[in-house]
């Protein structure tokens, strides 16, 4: 991806990428959980990108979540969790 996501330092649990919206409460809850778990992760607020960057990121994101909905969390490029399914995220990151 040419667009650089924001990196949050923390415990290395592999690659954790969160596609989010700055206005979305579910995205906020997901970020809060990641912060609480103190894991290192990257996130992008897709609504704050320019239109061309947005299109590029959406294309990437739709490969793992065709509906293009938020939040979309991608763990180690294979596990995808759509929506603020906090228990599922916790389980995936603590196991």
């Amino acid at each position: 991806m040419a667009i650089t996501p924001v990196h949050v330092e923390g415990i290395d649990k592999g690659s954790i990428m969160l596609y989010a919206l700055s206005t979305c409460i579910h995205c906020k809850q997901t970020r809060k959980l990641l912060d609480e778990l103190k894991v290192a992760y990257d996130y992008l607020y897709v609504d704050q990108l320019s239109r061309s960057e947005m299109d590029e990121v959406l294309k990437e994101m739709e490969k793992v979540n065709p509906r293009g909905s938020f939040p979309t969390l991608v763990i180690n490029n294979n596990k995808v969790i759509v929506g603020s399914r906090l228990d599922e995220i916790r389980e995936a990151l603590l196991s």
């Binding site: 700055s22 206005t23 979305c24 947005m54 509906r67 929506g83």
Partner: protein, 167 residues
């Protein structure tokens, strides 16, 4: 989130939405912190785009293509009937509201962009209506949608008081 939404404005819009919902038989999510987060998102979107599009969906800033996600969105009532909450959780069913339950995770039902383009013509298919028409047996209010509303927006009768009027 951002400093451009004042507490006063947030209080005002939140109260307006609670009153409007009550009047028409809907419930706003009783979780105040959660709901204020959503109302803040609506106000940010109103500033950004000129309309209150869903804070949990990506707006393209083009009103015509965002019309279906301007709050209350086209998908609210189907989500309320099926899951007890709308996609973002701003509106909830009577049960969730009265028992103060957390809003469930609601999957996105908005069609993909490619499908939305195709659906733009609202022609009636041969042999039937695109939606059944429900009739409130109390006041005669008619609505064409997949399920009757939780409460009649006119006379506040419960959804059990609705009958199928046209199919």
């Amino acid at each position: 989130m951002t400093p451009d939404v004042s507490e006063n404005l947030l209080d005002k819009r939140h109260n307006e939405l609670i009153q409007e919902a009550k009047k028409s038989g809907y419930n706003l999510n009783p979780d105040t912190v959660f709901t204020r987060g959503l109302v803040e998102g609506l106000l940010i979107n109103a500033n950004r785009y000129g309309y209150e599009s869903c804070p949990c969906r990506l707006s393209l800033g083009d009103k015509e293509s965002d019309l279906d996600i301007i709050c209350p969105c086209d998908y609210r009532d189907d989500d309320l009937s099926e899951y007890g909450a709308c996609f973002c959780g701003l509106y909830v069913s009577d049960t969730i509201a009265s028992e103060n339950l957390p809003a469930p995770v609601v999957p996105e039902r908005r069609p993909l962009a490619s499908e939305r383009m195709k659906k733009s013509s609202s022609s009636v298919p041969a042999g039937g209506l695109p939606f059944p028409v429900y009739r409130c047996k109390v006041c005669g209010y008619l609505c064409a949608r997949n399920n009757p509303p939780e409460k009649c927006p006119i006379c506040k009768a419960e959804k059990e008081r609705f009958e199928i009027f046209l199919r």
